[in-house]
Amino acid sequence: MMRLPDQLASGERLTFAEARPLWDLDLLTLGRAADAVRRRLNPEGRVTYVIDRNINYTNVCVSGCRFCAFYRPPGADDGYVLDWQTLAEKLRELQAHGGSGVLLQGGLNPDLTLAYYEKLVSFVHGFGLGVHGFSPPEIFFLSRQTGLSLDEVIRRLMAVGLSSIPGGGAEILVDRVRRQISPNKCTSAQWLEVMEAAHRQGLKTSATMMFGHLETREDRLEHLLKIRKLQDKTGGFTAFIPWTYQPGGTALQGQALGAVEYLRTLAVSRLVLDNVEHLQVSWVTQGPKVAQIALKFGADDFGSTMLEENVVAATGVGFRLNRDEIETLIWQSGYQPRVRDHRYNLR
């Protein structure tokens, strides 16, 4: 039985059976309901973003995910690990932009030790910058490589300055799909286990979902419900960031999903994830115009300045926005831009 948008907006929790038909609503009705939730959670009409940069410390990765155009297998000619000099230059550039933190993400590189990761975090931290680092597959891999528990790996990284964890590598948290698109990556339970361990130690994390490949809408919904369930337990997720698979240059290939299905999925995410405060637009995959419209479909966060982006760019999708452009896009959409940090504290 379909609930009307006003009932949806009341915040009453949706079951799987109630949420699944939301995708079949017309786009405007769905958006209207998601926008009502956004207004309830964020009545001031703020749209936040973070001044940060992405640093992809290595592209060497043993995972070999079929949707990825960024990684290089160990031994490849164009595999890299950033040297400290380059890293320092990148950090100084971010400081010149008034940045508050760095998104550190790389690959599952078997040549890198825990000592390297500790030095990396401590190096960035030494610049007075927050370290938003290492998606769950990286933490999980590090735990396997070192034989240390997840708790211990996270504790050691926190000890040298890790301040939050990005929600990458979630893809779709349904193992049937993961086996097809990323068979060597941690399972959905393991992904959630890393997040739970992080939340337990007081680290905030985001959560992502990459959709529009082999998964069904039911799989997406299962993904949302897994996030919601863990959030009930820990409350450690700051934001949810859905984005669409970009097929360029990947082994998986196929066609990219369009903007309407992106908006539908974004709105359903807002309605289902009643316990996650923020919902982030993906201007990197959707472009600035769709990102503006996404603010009317439940989103209240514009992501980050990035300064560089290598992972999506490897697929040939190359949107770029600087701080002024982000602020203009938010103002133009009728919202108040506010700078935040990686833990979603306003600055």
């Binding site: 948008p5 017309d26 405007l28 009705t29 209207r32 309407v260 115009k289 769709v290 990102a291 203009t328």
Partner: protein, 368 residues
């Protein structure tokens, strides 16, 4: 649709009018443009769109031919026009134009869309030969050619009346006129941005003369630069009055201003919110226009797709080789394939319908 309630209560009286089929006025138009309730405005437009077109969304298999960018006008919002001899100025010879047509004879193109500048020297015979030559090579194709601005310029150069020029062009193969060059009708805007361009009265005269001769035309509005919302509404209502008189407009196409490389490059251009709202308000005010078209080259395919839920029923076509918007920094691709267009339309919940220029349905097998 089960849309529930407007966030902006000012939309309620407009909904009552729309439901009762009462024509909207200047104040209604301004209320709609000023509303922060984008989805509410979209919903109103969508009720009208569904009443007219159901779930159908049209596209066309077309070829764009921008034969020259040499132009005497020098409009400040334009990144395409050049004075003769300036760097970047070009004009295609007839042989080059024919070669471009011949290069794509194997494709199921139903329309060639021809737009250029107001060239100071090309003789009237050049345009007639262009149309005749294309028709000789591709007799079945519909030639949608020359904006009202070009037609007025050609007529003046040739010492002909508008009706005489249009008749001669029609005899040579002209099928209909595109809607460009209308910009914003406000005298204030034209004085500021394009003082040398054909006046609004002149633009409407060409369009209406064409209608009286049995030629259909489109209409446009270039928005998102220095015009006010009131001026947009005035523009739309003036088109609506003209359509009441002659009835030959097929589609209205709001054109999003692209600032890069223009004389107004310090502006940011319209937001996506504004893009969708302009399309939706156009659908609501232009109750006598059959079609509202989102030109994906300007909006991007993604926003064009979303616009199908905001009152739009046409996403233009395969295009290819478009120069005017791309010279203004558009990041959009040069063309979309038919299957890309169809998938884009389907994903928006609409039924793709291939049309010809006059909106007659083209039947083709599903495999195509």
């Amino acid at each position: 649709m089960v849309f529930s309630g407007f966030q902006d209560p000012a939309l309620q009286p407009i909904q009552d009018k729309v439901a009762a089929g009462v024509r909207l006025d200047q104040d209604d138009g301004c209320t709609l443009f000023a509303s922060s309730d984008l989805l509410g405005v979209g919903y109103l437009a969508q009720t009208v769109r569904e009443r007219r077109h159901g779930r159908r969304a049209y596209y066309i298999y077309n070829q764009h031919l921008n034969y020259s960018n040499i132009c005497v006008n020098g409009c400040r919002f334009c990144a395409f026009g050049r004075k003769a001899g300036d760097p970047g100025a070009y004009e295609m010879s007839l042989a080059e134009i024919y070669a471009r047509v011949e290069a794509r004879l194997q494709e199921p193109i139903t329309e060639i869309h021809i737009v250029g500048g107001c060239h100071p020297e090309l003789p009237f015979s050049f345009y007639l030969d262009m149309l005749r030559g294309i028709k000789a090579r591709r007799p079945e194709v519909h030639l949608q050619a020359f904006t009202a601005v070009e037609v007025a310029h050609l007529a003046q150069q040739a010492g002909l009346s508008i009706a005489e020029a249009l008749s001669a062009l029609r005899e040579a193969g002209l099928g209909s006129l595109p809607g460009g060059g209308a910009e914003v009708f406000s005298p204030r805007i034209r004085q500021r941005l394009c003082p040398e361009k054909l006046s609004p009265e002149g633009w409407l005269e060409v369009a209406q003369t064409a209608h009286r001769l049995g030629l259909n035309t489109n209409a446009t509005m270039l928005y998102g630069h220095v015009e006010t919302l009131e001026e947009r509404v005035e523009h739309l209502l003036r088109l609506r009055s003209a359509q009441d008189e002659t009835g030959g407009f097929l589609a209205f196409i709001p054109l999003a201003f692209h600032p890069a490389n223009t004389g107004l490059s310090d502006l940011t251009g319209p937001s996506a919110i504004d893009d969708l709202k302009t399309l939706a308000v156009s659908r609501l005010l232009l109750d006598n226009f059959p079609h509202i078209k989102a030109f994906w080259v300007m909006l991007g395919p993604k926003l064009a797709q979303i616009s199908l839920c905001f009152g739009v029923d046409d996403v233009d076509g395969t295009v290819m080789e478009e120069r005017i918007t791309h010279m203004a920094g558009a990041q959009t691709p040069q063309g979309l394939t038919r299957s890309q267009l169809r998938a884009l339309i389907r994903e928006a919940g609409c039924e793709p319908v291939e049309r010809d220029t006059l909106y007659r349905v083209i039947e083709h097998d599903a495999a195509a």
